[in-house]
Amino acid sequence: MRELIGNIIIGIGLVFVLLGIFGVYRFKNFYSRILIASKVDTVGFITICAGVMIRNGLSWFSLKVLLLAAVVMIINPVVTHAIASSAYHGGFSLPGEGEDAADS
């Protein structure tokens, strides 16, 4: 029973991850892409880690997965902020990017 619930939650996290991949190809503006990719990917990772913890019960394995989820939960927004800040301050210019922002 616990294994079934864990598998279902892992499947939900997998759907989030695939939506993140789809969003990277879908949007035409760079800042929309970085928003959808980082948010959806972080949520998918945390959901998959929660499914793994439910699947394995209370053990050292789950504690290590919890530590991994905490580490990723801190560093993934920091990396996204670093990339967006680098694009904003580093002369981000692409021909046709301004017109595409109104469409998408």
Binding site: N7, I10, V65, L68, N76, I83, S85, S86, G90, F92
Partner: protein, 84 residues
């Protein structure tokens, strides 16, 4: 179930690699690399479940921290246009 999860994540890694190859700017490639390393950490966790080995999770934590440092410093390097 877990084996199918590994297959689907591998397919997602293929699409992310295509995004790295065709990305218009260097920041798109950096973002796609971040997604790729995240998918790789998920695959390592799934392998830790399949093979029932605890030390694979230590490898996953180490890989997460190393990817964090590398992506952060590449972003800083690109921001200053190659001047360190």
């Amino acid at each position: 179930m877990i084996e199918y999860t590994v297959h689907i994540l591998a397919a997602a890694m293929v699409f992310t690699t295509v995004k790295i190859l065709v990305g218009p700017t260097v920041w798109d490639r950096l973002l796609a690399f971040n997604l790729l390393s995240s998918k790789l950490i998920m695959i390592i966790v799934m392998c830790a479940i399949i093979f029932e080995k605890h030390y694979l999770l230590d490898i996953a934590i180490t890989y997460a921290l190393l990817g964090f440092v590398s992506t952060l410093f590449i972003a800083r390097f690109v921001k200053d246009k190659g001047r360190i």
